[in-house]
Amino acid sequence: MCTTCGCGETDQIMVTDPKTGDQRMMSHDEAHAHGHDHHHGEDTHSHEHGHSHDIRPTAETHGRTIELEKEILGKNQLIAERNRGWLAGRGILALNLVSSPGSGKTSLLERTIADMRTEFEIGVIEGDQETVHDAERIRATGCRAVQINTGTGCHLEAEMLERALGSLDPPSGSLLFIENVGNLVCPALFDLGEAAKVAILSVTEGEDKPLKYPHMFRASRLMLLNKIDLLPYVKFDLSRSIAYAREVNPAIEVLQVSATTGEGMPLWYDWLRQARRQLRHSTAAG
């Protein structure tokens, strides 16, 4: 496995010629040069133990097996549930915005804040690997914003949200947008404690992204198709894109918007109002 590109070992890479339908397994070195060795299969994997077994009198000769059945992401899930409780207790609607880099998440937020600030108190938590540019853009709208820089990390985790909530201290009844790191893979796996994930796909991207990154579109409650003002200039099949999204997630809701022209944005604002009503209802019922 390559730490640079995140790709798998040779047996995971399939090359398909779409014209002929030919498929072949690709050798990893064909894909790109690697500076490290790739023999991690169990058969070839031998480890030297850094200790001598007979100096541990408490350990049995043949070892002791401890059955765990522990969820690997259990700790993240626990903190996410704590965040969810904290947010629900304050009637705060938190939405986790996920997309590729460049889909227009920050522009969409700027527009949403400008149009909705009289109706909602809005706070924003920005996640990026580096820079505070996005938080500065949000702050320029007069809205409260906190930036989380993940460094080499490719996604936000529940613990990061917990810390950000501590410094943002969003008021009760407010609307909280969490702008995740631009990445359609990793953020799908990490629950932060949000009420819902909202996937943003712009029409300048490929319409088949829901099929290429199914985990993300499956985890999202809503897909915002952004930049629809550019439809006349790009080759993007809107109905096919929606069909692909429903293929991976039959329940996904879809709205078409342009953060630049404002087209379709009232539908998004109605969705936000509705989501907040639902949150209040579920909190009151619970």
Binding site: M1, T3, G6, H40
Partner: protein, 108 residues
């Protein structure tokens, strides 16, 4: 590279449960639909376990195949991706296995 932070969690779970003893082997269960690549975890494992009681442990990964139940007709079948179509035509599938991400057991 979510496998890096996932492997850090794996090592942390092992450390918490090993009672200070050196871990000889770790068995994981990773479903084939889980978006976690076993090879990536194997790669990260040596790096993340270095300097801990888990260092040098043998890593076994059980890869659970994906299975789904059709919500419309109740048929159960194997799937390679978590979306698809039942023979009855329905796309409404419930995943019954293949999404596991667990530390099954440790040997100390």
């Amino acid at each position: 590279m979510h496998e890096l932070s996932i492997t850090q969690s794996i090592v942390a779970i092992c450390e918490e449960n090993a009672g200070g003893l050196a871990v000889k082997s770790v068995t994981l269960e990773i479903g084939k639909l889980s978006a976690v690549m076993p090879d990536a975890v194997r790669f990260c494992f040596d790096v993340c376990s270095a300097g801990t009681v888990v260092e040098g442990a043998r890593l076994s990964i059980i890869e659970t195949p994906g299975r789904a139940v059709c919500e419309a007709c109740g048929a159960e079948f194997a799937i390679a991706a978590f979306f698809g179509k039942c023979e009855c035509g329905s796309r409404s599938l419930r995943i019954v296995s293949g999404e596991e991400m667990k530390v099954r057991e440790l040997e100390v």
